[in-house]
Subunit: 235 residues, 2 copies
Amino acid sequence: MPRADDVVNSVKRMILEGVLRPGDRLPVEKELADSLGVSRGSLREGISALSMPGVVDTRQGDGTYITNLDVTKPLAPMGFVVDLEGRGNARHVHAVRRIPECEAARPAAGRITGEALSRARALLDEAIRIAGEATHDHERIIEIDIEFHRVIAMNSGNPVLAGLLDAFAGRTVRARLWRSLHEEGADRRTHGEHLAIWKALAARDPERAWIRMANHLMGVEESLYGLSGDMPPST
Amino acid sequence: MPRADDVVNSVKRMILEGVLRPGDRLPVEKELADSLGVSRGSLREGISALSMPGVVDTRQGDGTYITNLDVTKPLAPMGFVVDLEGRGNARHVHAVRRIPECEAARPAAGRITGEALSRARALLDEAIRIAGEATHDHERIIEIDIEFHRVIAMNSGNPVLAGLLDAFAGRTVRARLWRSLHEEGADRRTHGEHLAIWKALAARDPERAWIRMANHLMGVEESLYGLSGDMPPST
DNA sequence: ACAGCCACAATCATCAGATGTATCGGCTCC
DNA sequence: GGAGCCGATACATCTGATGATTGTGGCTGT
C-alpha cells in the first residue's frame, strides 16, 4: 500500500477515534511525518488527497486544520463527473436534476427567510434589467440563474440536498444549457417562470412552488430536446 | 493558488475537453510536470488529490490512467463523513435519497423487463429464506437489499439516475446506516414492503410503485430517526 | 495608554536530485 | 511454442535546501 494511503487512513482513524476533532490543527508537517514514519513528500500527498473532499484545510504560513466535517463537502467533486456526463447524457442529467430541484422548492416555500426572499427578488430584477440592455451580459445572466436556484436550495432545510443541486446544476452544465437557450431568445420567458416561482415562495405556498419549479425546468428541457416520450422519469 | 490545484484543474480540464479520455494513460510524471511547469512533487500532490475521488488510478511501474468515471466514485469519501458525524447528517442523506429513489420506481414500473422482474423476485425470496435461518447472515441481507434497489434503478431508463442512486444508496454510504435497522429484527417488515414494491412493478402500475417505494423508505427513515417534523423535504 | 507599524519566527509551498521497487514486454533457452 | 529471465520504463520515496505567507509580539509615536 502506498505511503500516502497510510497517511490518509491514519488521519482518518485519528479523527474517528477523537484524537483529532473538527477545528483542531494538525501537527507540523515534519513532526507528523516523523510520527507516521514517512517523508514530508508522502505526507503532503496524503494531506492533499484529504483536502480534495474537504476533510482538512491547509493554509500556508499557518497550519493544517480539520474542517467542520459536513456531508456537503464530498459532494463537490461529484460536480465534475456530472459535468463530464453532461457531454453525452445531457438530457438524462437535466431530467435527474429536475427531481431534487422541485423537491427543494417545496419545503423552501415554507421556511425561506425574508432576507433570502429579498435577495432572490433582487437577482430577478437584475436579470430582467440586463436582458433589456444592449450589451446583454450573458455570463452575468448565467450567474444570476445559478444563484437564484441556489438560494432556493439553501432554504430547503436540507444541506445535502443543496449540495447535490450544486453538483447537478453547476457552472458547466448551466453554461451549456444557456448557450442553446439564449439563442432562442428565451431570456424573457425564463424570467417569467422565475418570477412565478418567486411569487409562490413569497406566498409561502409549497405546492404552488413545486408546480412552478417543475413547469420551469420542464420548459427548459423541452426547448432543448423537444417533447420525446422516451425516458424521462415523469414527475 | 497552490501548484497542486493547478495540476488538478489542468487535468480536469483536459478530461472535459476530451484531450484525455477514460482509459487513457497520462504522460510520464517528469514529462507532465514539465508541461505544466511544476515539479514532480507538486504534480504528485495533485494526482494524489485526483485519485481520492477516483478520477485517476495510478499503478507503480506502469502508469497513471483515467478511470471509467461514474458518479459513484466521488461519493465514496462521503461514507467516512457519514460514519463520523452520524445521525444529523445521515438523516439528511436518507431524506435526499428517498426523492430520486421514488422517482426511479415510477418509470421502472412501465418499462422493467421480465427478466429483471424475475431477478428481483429471486432476491426477495432469498432474503426471506435467510431471515428465517438461524445464522441470519446480515451482510448478505444488506447485499440483497442494495441489489434489489439497484435492479429498479437500472430499469428506470435513465442511466444518470441509476448512477446517482448507486452513489447514494450504495454500500459505502449505506452499510452502517442499515446495520442498526436489521439488528432490530425489522427484516420481515422490510421484506413485506419490498414485496409490495415488487407487486406494483409486476402489475406495471407506476403510481402504485411510487407509493410503495415512498412508504418503504419513509418507514426505514422513521425507524432510524423517529418522526421529527424538522426538515425532511416532504414527498 | 493606545493605535499602528515592523521585524521575526513558525509553517506551509516548491523545487532538484538520487535511489528503491514494481510492471511490462521482448528475448532466450529448452 | 511456451516458460522463464532480464532490462527498460514508470511510479514510490527520501533528503536537503530555499521561497512565500501568516500570525504574533514588541516597538514607536502620539
